[in-house]
Subunit: 160 residues, 2 copies
């Protein structure tokens, strides 16, 4: 029996927290008018659809790489959606991919360093927190886009 | 010895993660022109200074309430800064307040329900994740404000 550092949260709780955020992001995608999802942005920034493609290109592929110990280059080129429906369908498919791979990561593995996409060499738990933070960050930019468009975004605290 | 759920992160790691985010938020406050910090906003939204006062009114007071088992109403009225320097000084003071109280929360306590500000009855770990998420959320809105103003915000990944 080794002594273990004071726990903040369990893996199950983190996954539930993350999927709650993903539910909210899904609502934000849904509330965008189709045209603005692909075209609207603020000076020098990307449309929200492009940010969502980034999010989709990170979470599932990164977890797969961590579990399979495969260092693959980051790529957004694989998925080029033309409609909101395509994005939402892919979002939902990724929900299962995330659950599948996340649950295979052991407690010890969360603490090990992984060279994500051959570029980001950090402990696995930091990489995963980064995925979630990055999602919150881009989604909040989308909140501002929606406000600029005169559309009321979903409540930030509505997750399930 | 009780069996414990698979750990995602320790309390120390979460605190470091949070303070890293707070460092980045401090940089975002710094990069705002004084006038725009207090006056600029996008349709129906608040200036970033007001959001920062909200963040300052949550973290420290909430942790104090959790540790001292005191349910106090939420209040933003106590702190009404007039300058960026006042905000930054208070931000730095809160860094110590957060460290002080966070470190007194036990592993068991993180899992207990607390009625935050007499309004938000959730496990303590969920309340704390909410503080961090809420900070990322409002800071990202400030990123969009900065871009609208033609100002390049700090790198999202620069934390220490």
């Amino acid at each position: 029996m080794t002594t273990r550092a004071k726990q903040f949260i369990s893996a199950d709780q983190l996954l539930e927290h993350w999927q709650g955020h993903r539910n909210l992001t899904r609502r934000v995608i849904e509330v965008f008018p189709d045209k603005e999802l692909f075209e609207f942005s603020v000076q020098g920034m990307r449309p929200f659809s492009t940010m969502v493609v980034e999010l989709i290109s990170i979470a599932g592929p990164a977890l797969k790489g961590i579990v399979e110990q495969q260092i693959t280059e980051f790529s957004e080129e694989v998925f080029q959606p033309k409609t909101k429906e395509e994005i939402l369908a892919r979002w939902d498919a990724e929900t299962e991919v995330i659950n599948h791979y996340f649950n295979q990561i052991s407690e010890e593995k969360f603490q090990e360093t992984f060279n994500l996409f051959g570029q980001y060499e950090f402990p696995v738990y930091q990489n995963i927190l980064y995925f979630i933070d990055n999602e919150i960050h881009h989604r909040a930019q989308a909140y501002t886009y929606l406000r600029s468009l005169g559309i009321v975004p979903p409540f930030f605290w509505e997750r399930f």
